[in-house]
Symmetry: C2
């Protein structure tokens, strides 16, 4: 469904959010440990999230990654996916004709439409906040 990079990106953002609620910045090392991902690769992905203003970085000693508390509720899963995988999840679905539209649909267009729209709706209406809170309350997990 998503690329590995995107999976790591989502998990990283969730972990950073949980820590930001406590006022802690986190390093790529801590993140990689917490979400069970390759450290250097994760660091690359974090750069992308920073470029897209989804997470914020502070360089130098005592630096790290954080997300301002008040932003966490407004960040949607769709932004993270978009920052890393682009819009392929919306556009590259189905059988990926070169040009595709309602007037020249591939054979599965109508069938996929519902799934695609359901996915789109879900990504656009799931906030980082709810995902992070579920982690904090032990309802869901970032690894194992």
């Amino acid at each position: 469904m998503f690329s590995k990079a995107c999976e790591y990106g989502i998990k990283a953002a969730i972990y950073i959010a949980t820590q930001s609620y406590e006022g802690n910045r986190v390093t790529p090392k801590a993140i990689a440990l917490e979400i069970d991902s390759p450290k250097a690769f994760t660091a690359k992905i974090l750069q992308a999230l920073v470029k897209h203003d989804i997470v914020f970085s502070v360089k130098g000693a005592y630096g790290g990654f954080e997300i301002p508390k008040e932003k966490i509720g407004r960040i949607k899963l769709s932004q993270i996916v978009n920052a890393i995988d682009g819009d392929t999840i919306y556009k590259g679905c189905g059988l990926g004709l070169n040009q595709c539209n309602e007037n020249h649909p591939c054979p599965v267009h109508d069938k996929f439409k519902r799934v695609r729209e359901e996915l789109k709706y879900m990504l656009e209406n799931t906030s980082l906040e709810e995902l992070a809170l579920n982690i904090k309350s032990g309802l869901s997990f970032l690894k194992v």
Copy 2:
């Protein structure tokens, strides 16, 4: 959503079906041309479909690929996807924890559940027949 291999596999199966209705066998060359895919790679994918008894091959001169007319209606999109991409589409969703289940869900589990089930339902309830008939009637297209 799907791998390229899977996209080609689906399109190839649809094209073979349309031709099988007319009693024609088709070669990988013709298929690749019709679905706009790399010929040799498509041939590889066809082998997988043959192994899974989704399409049937006849070797030698005047040979080619075909699907018995009476089977076309019973072949579901899910079988094709499964033959090529395996069950990653069902199992490898979301954030892909190492082990994942209802009791130890990743943060997006509940969110993804609906999308995943919608996709599963669609794949299991879409037959090659309906896709092929839409091509024949000009309602959908295999390329451009």
